[in-house]
């Protein structure tokens, strides 16, 4: 049932995107951390991301996911994820789905801008995209064979408080995370921090691919903070990752991140990259398909 449903969803999305207009976007370079900027209302952003991870005591892996990010309003963005992974010398498998919502509670910009984040995850134990690190997530969790790890199913609710500031071209983010496995598991906690800045603040007076203002560089740091019964840094993993995004005038955004594990519980190296494209007018298009006026 799952493959047929997702095949249908994929085909519908492709059909929609063929006739929707691409739109230039100014995307942040973060892959784990979030800033406070919402998707433009009515726009759909389709994103593909990969994570290559080294694994001690097991096989290296390549995990990947697709995101469909839609701007419902200027204060509400919703995202739907499909996750999968390939473990070298093992197998390739679909590992789950996520539905994420971000809400901007304040009307105006402030020095610190909060966003409320709520996510539901239905993933297997073989999920390795490492989109967030929480609780006592450690490298050895990913060492199990896929055939074993996929037997575990997790329904998880994740809440985040995203704080973000923009000052003189710099963006600073601070995300705190609380996640609850809906079966009988304790609340788990995590964090993500980030800072980024375009290489040039003024835009050029000519159209160009390689203008420095199209490139945003920064760094993010993320990790777990234990759980309700053992809060803190003990038996947790942490990463530091330089990040860069290249917003091309041809409507594509490329992202690259090289993550380095900061302690023995962390994967030594995570290489992430992503490709995304924003399509404006998606809401209008869907309305038109169902008989509304454009």
């Amino acid at each position: 049932m799952i493959p047929r449903f997702f095949l249908g969803l994929f085909v519908l999305s492709l059909l929609s995107l063929v006739v929707a207009s691409p739109a230039f976007s100014q995307e942040s370079p973060y892959i784990v951390a979030y800033d406070h900027y919402m998707e433009e209302p009515g726009s759909l952003e389709v994103e593909y991301f990969s994570t290559f991870g080294t694994q001690r005591g097991g096989n290296d892996f390549h995990a990947y996911w697709v995101e469909f990010e839609y701007g419902v309003t200027a204060w509400w963005t919703t995202e739907f994820y499909l996750d999968a992974q390939s473990t070298f010398h093992d197998s390739t498998l679909f590992t789950g789905l996520r539905w994420e919502n971000r809400f901007r509670p304040l009307k105006h910009e402030h020095f610190i801008n909060p966003v409320i984040y709520i996510e539901y995850e239905h993933i297997s134990g073989a999920d390795k995209i490492l989109k967030e690190i929480e609780g006592h997530d450690v490298e050895s969790d990913s060492a199990d064979l896929n055939a074993v790890a996929r037997q575990e199913h997790n329904n998880e609710l994740e809440l985040k408080l995203l704080l973000s500031s923009t000052y003189k071209g710099w963006n600073f983010v601070e995300n705190t995370l609380a996640a609850k496995n809906l079966s009988n598991h304790p609340w788990e906690f995590g964090y993500a921090l980030g800072a980024s800045r375009p290489l040039k603040l003024k835009a050029s007076a000519k159209r160009c691919n390689f203008c420095r203002e199209n490139v945003i560089a920064g760094v993010e740091m993320y990790g777990g903070l234990g759980d309700r019964y053992s809060f803190g840094l003990k038996d947790t993993s942490h990463y530091l990752a330089p990040v860069v995004a290249w917003n091309l005038p041809s409507d594509w955004t490329l992202r690259l991140s090289t993550g380095f594990g900061l302690n023995d519980n962390s994967h030594r190296f995570l290489l992430r990259w992503g490709l995304s494209r924003e399509f404006s007018g998606f809401g209008d298009l869907v309305s038109h398909l169902f008989g509304g006026q454009r």
Binding site: F6, F80, H108, E109, A203, G283, V286
Partner: protein, 157 residues
């Protein structure tokens, strides 16, 4: 419900919700550019809400000869989708060549760009660095007044 059906069931709910919300959102915004709804003109009153300190700001790029050209490129990338190719109003955004905008202080326009009009659908644009927002202001102000036929904007007294 068995756990194995929970994921697909929720996925269907998510997609249905997305479709429903986007339908509702789009139909609310389905207006002809020639006949904007009444509340669209109400958006102009947001300019008056800019704090005095913000209104008093002057454009630091006023004497920059490239500011208008750069602002035009930025406008085409980020604003034209809603406000129309030449800022005369579009499906979702009001005419920026209306007298309310063209006669407003540059600081007020900059303030709107920075803060958006979130409850009326305009996102915040503080993700564009401050010089780029001023370049946008330069371009918008360079366009001059051109009221749309169905929405003749009268100059302020």
């Amino acid at each position: 419900m068995k756990a194995r059906f929970l994921g697909p069931f929720l996925a269907i709910c998510v997609v249905a919700a997305l479709l429903g919300v986007s339908l509702g959102q789009a139909q609310q915004g389905n207006v002809s550019p020639a006949k904007p709804p009444k509340d669209k003109t109400g958006v102009y009153s947001e300019l008056d809400k800019a704090p005095q300190k913000a209104r008093a700001k002057s454009n630091p790029l006023q004497s920059d000869p490239d500011a208008v050209l750069a602002g035009r490129i930025l406008f085409e990338r980020h604003c034209a989708e809603c406000h129309g190719d030449v800022a005369e109003g579009g499906h979702h955004g009001p005419n920026l060549r209306a007298a309310e905008v063209q006669n407003a202080p540059v600081g007020a326009i900059f303030w709107i760009l920075t803060n958006g009009i979130v409850w009326h659908g305009m996102p915040v644009w503080s993700k564009l660095p401050e010089p780029q927002r001023w370049q946008l202001v330069s371009y918008i102000k360079s366009l001059g007044v051109k009221p749309s036929p169905a929405n003749p904007a009268l100059p302020r007294p």
